[in-house]
Structure formats: C-alpha cells, structure tokens
Symmetry: C2
Subunit: 317 residues, 2 copies
C-alpha cells in the first residue's frame, strides 16, 4: 500500500536537479513539513476504489507540488515571514528565486500529472489533466477575492461572498485531490462525484477550522499571535457572524476595534457567537462530507478517509 513517504520520495526525486539554487528553493518549503492532507486523501480514495498505487503516488505528488507552489507565492504576496515555524521561501532565498521556485513547482506538478495518467483511456486521462490544469486559476480567483475583501468595509462582506471565496481559495483543491484519487482508480459517475463532494465539504470545514484558530488558537501551537486575523484585517466567518449578531453599543465597539485592528476584538466576537456558530457551520460541512461516503466500499481505506476528515476539522494548528 502506498504511503505519504512514497509521495515525499517522489517529490524529492523530481526536484533533485540543477541549477541547485533553484531546486533547493523549490524543495525547501516541502521539506519543512506540513500535514500532507491532500496527498493522503488522494491515496486513500484511490485505495477505496482499488486503484494502482504507482499512478496514485505520482498524482498525489503532483497535487502536493501544486499546493506548495500556491503557498510560496501566497507568502510573497502577503509578505509573510514565517511558515511552519521557519522563514518563508522568499525570506530565505530572496524574492526572485522564490517566484521562480513556485513557477517550477507548478510546471513539475503538471508534468507529473501527465505521467500519472499515461496509459489510461484517453477520455479519463484528459478529464484528469483538464481538471488539474484549471485548479490554479480557481485558487488565484479565490486569492483575488480574499485580497479584495481586505480593502472592503466589514459590513460589505456578506456570507455568500465569504463562501464563494473559500470554496475557490481552499475547497476546490481538496475536491480535486479526492476526485482524482477515486477517478484514477476507475470510479466514475456517482462514486466519483461523491468523492469530489466529500473533498469540497471537507475543504469548507477545513477553512472554518483555520478561521477559528486565526482568532482563538493557542499562539504557542499555531505560531501566530493571539487574534492574528484581526491584526491582518481578514474577513473571516466568526467575525462576519459576530457583526451580524451583535447590536447597539457592542456592535459599534466591535466595528471600531476591527477597524483599529485591535486583537481585543476577539472577546466581542466570542460574545456575538462568532466562534460557536462557525463551529456549528463547520460541523454541518463535516456531516455533509461524511454522508458523501455512505455508498462507498467499507474497509481500512475508508476508515483512513474518515480519520483524515476528523484531523482536518479537529485540530490545534
């Protein structure tokens, strides 16, 4: 059975090239860790449907390369200086090489997916490659909406905007990973759609878990300061909910604190039910993800999928 260690070896193999200053930068963020949730999900769905593990390892490596490409460019755009508790790629290697390193990961991701589908029936191969080629555009659209929201007034950002943004920014890649794992193994029609739906719902829940940690996470564990999303002017779900729920002087005071990027706004967000209601929305998405698994063949692989869902939602960092 294929494991995430096989995926890491495959990524290392792909990135062992010259010029070394470029490929060391491309490998660096991957080497600092990460949960590897997307490749794990791809491998597990592939196993649920009895797929070939060599193909799945390549596809999983492709998805993780793509994910790391988006993180490297995202850190440059956000001017973030640390990730996984260590300096970001552009801080360590300089911005020009970090831009190129991201570009290379995206290129190698496409190349690796093309190798993963080699020998499949043409229509299946092309369906995977077209889905994979389109993902970066979706993520970039979500990141653009995220940036747009940063300069919007808090009262202008509605829940529909928020859901559209996190779907593109976060959930589509999870959906693509789960679907690719199942589809590579020969699943189609309803089972393949169910895998995609599972990934989409998991991704929505994953982002909400992030939103909660961005306000009330333990700084010792997350590596981020208390109320970090308030400090950065982020329009996350708990904040939007609290603004909606509060009235009178509490609401005025919350909006003032948010505008001043004052982390003590967190107390009012909690008072307005922002954390509690976000948790309840998150659990709704988790339940929807679980129900997408109902008609899938039971066994250790499906158990692993369930465990990955839990770890995406119940987490401290």
């Amino acid at each position: 059975m294929a494991s995430v260690a096989d995926v890491e070896l495959e990524m290392k193999r792909i990135l062992s090239r010259d010029p070394s200053e470029l490929f060391q930068a491309a490998w660096y963020l991957i080497s600092t860790g990460g949960k590897r949730l997307r490749p794990r999900l791809l491998l597990s769905f592939n196993e649920v449907f009895g797929g070939d593990s060599e193909r799945a390892i390549r596809a999983a490596a492709s998805v993780e390369l793509l994910h790391n490409f988006t993180l490297i460019h995202d850190d440059i755009m956000d001017k973030d200086e640390t990730r996984h508790g260590v300096p970001t790629t552009h801080v360590k290697f300089g911005e020009p090489i970090a831009i190129l390193a991201g570009d290379v990961l995206q290129s190698e991701s496409q190349h690796e997916m093309a190798r993963a589908v080699e020998g499949l029936p043409m229509r299946r191969a092309m369906a995977i490659l077209e889905s994979h080629a389109a993902i970066t555009t979706d993520i970039a659209r979500g990141q653009t909406l995220d940036m747009r929201s940063e300069v919007m007034d808090y009262r202008e950002v509605g829940l529909r905007f928020y859901y559209g943004m996190i779907k593109l920014k976060t959930a589509v890649l999870f959906a693509h990973a789960c679907w690719t794992g199942a589809y590579l193994a020969g699943a189609s029609g309803k089972p393949a759609s169910a895998a995609r739906s599972f990934g989409l719902n998991l991704g929505m829940a994953f982002q909400m878990a992030d939103d909660i940690l961005g306000l009330v996470g333990d700084p010792q564990i997350t590596g981020k300061p208390v109320g970090s999303d308030v400090r950065n002017g982020k329009k996350t779900l708990p904040i939007l909910i609290a603004i909606k729920n509060l009235s009178g002087s509490d609401r005025v005071s919350l909006l003032e604190k948010l505008k001043a990027r004052d982390p003590s706004a967190v107390d009012l967000i909690v008072k307005g039910g922002g954390i509690e209601q976000t948790r309840s929305f998150m659990l709704k998405f988790k339940t929807q993800a679980e129900s997408a698994l109902r008609s899938m063949p039971n066994g250790p692989a499906l158990e692993e999928v369930r465990a990955l869902l839990s770890s995406a939602v119940v987490r401290e960092k």
Copy 2:
C-alpha cells in the same frame, strides 16, 4: 487559413472572466502588443504539414499565454518598470495581482493545450502535453542561470555557460512552438525533429539579436537607454567576446568600465569585435535554421516561416 488575429481572439475569450481585477491584469501585457513570433511560427509549421487550423489556434494561444506569463514574472524579478513602452503589469496592478496574473496565464496555458490535443491519438496528445508542461521549468532554469551570471565576475562566464543559459531561457520555447505546430499536424520522426531544430536555432539567433540591440540599439526604437545591458551588468555574448579578444590596457579598461556599469564600455566592445563576431555567430545559427527546412514541402507556409526567421534576426527592436 488561421491567422494571429484568431489567436488573439482566442486569448481574449479565455481571459474574459471574473474577478475582473485578476483577468484584466492577466490580459494587460498581451493587449500592449508584442511580435507574436511564437504563435506565428506554430501556425505556419502547422500549415506546412497541412494540420487542422482550429487545433493550431488553441495551441498557438497556449504558447503565447505561457510566454506572457514568463514576461510578467520576469519583470517583477528584474524590477523592470516598462515594457512595450508602457508600465509593466506589477507597476500598473501591484505586485500581488501581477504574481497571480502570471500564475493564471500559466494555468490557462496548460488548460488550453489540453483542449488543443483532445481527440488526437493518445501517444501524440501526451507527447505534446508533456513537452508543454516541462517548458516552464526549462525557462526558469535559464532565468536562474541568468541571475547567477549577474553576480559572477565577467571573466568567469564562459561561452559554454552563455550558450546553455540562452538555450533554456529563450530557445527551448521557440523549439517547442515550432515542433508543436508540425507535430499537431501529424509530422513525426525527421520532419518533426527538423521543426524543433529550426526553432532552437532561430531562438539562439533571436537572443543574439537581442544582445546586439541591448548594446547598440537605437534608444528611440528599442525604448531602452544606450548600452542598457552594460548598465544592468548583463553578461551578453558581445561583451564576453570582446573581453576574450582584447588584451593589454584595452582589456583592463573594458573590465573597469563594465564593473562601473559605464555605458561608454560599448566603444571598447565594438573595438574588440564583440558586435561583429556576435553578428557572425547569429548568422551561423540562422543558416542552420534554414538548412532544417530543406526537406519540408515548399509553398506559401514555408515562405512565411522563412520570413519569420528573417524578422527574428534582422530587427531594430
């Protein structure tokens, strides 16, 4: 017969999406012009071998999207503020959106090439997609070598290093465009290799023409100051040749002026035969490109290929 106007319409169609701030930025550089040499070459080679023009338009759009992606990121890395006589994408839209705009062009390029090969025999489709997916990595490798050369001493950069760098940075994309045009039309074996070889030799000659313009081009036409490559510390072929040819006080003086990024170094580069010899190397590559066409079917399409080769070499900007 397909024309470059069809390719421009196709790119415009692909990039007419929301959010507008992202896709306007992705379209902006394309809309400011450019020679469209790569898509023109692809279309012409496709016609030489009697290919389907609808596929060729998509493939040509894909190649031009990729080229513009590399230019947008390159301008960010080099901190260039103008291109085609107008502000660069990051100057006009800010760096975060410019990074994303480049990422989107790369993503749409892959997606469009997947659509271009739909319905081809599997092995032919995959050969094109794998070649296309690998190109960005090659270009990034070339750009990395270019950056490395900027901090190297002039005397450390040899001709072999220079040739390896410009092959990756510039020539492989021309080779890929020409080969793809021919291969899409059903060419394989020797004719397909000859198209690739033509593109590679054209690309080497194209870069040398750039090197000459970067020293003695007319600032009114190129939009760059006199001796701009000297000002930027670039290690271009005329400079490397002049250092090799000069001796005594001329050589000492040239190295001093280069180190000081003094554009009057151009006079010594001319004296050392840098321009003249680069022109003669360039014409050798042009002749090699022409000889790759020998066994191809004559006609207006091959005449167009020859005209494109001339325009790549004999040009004022």
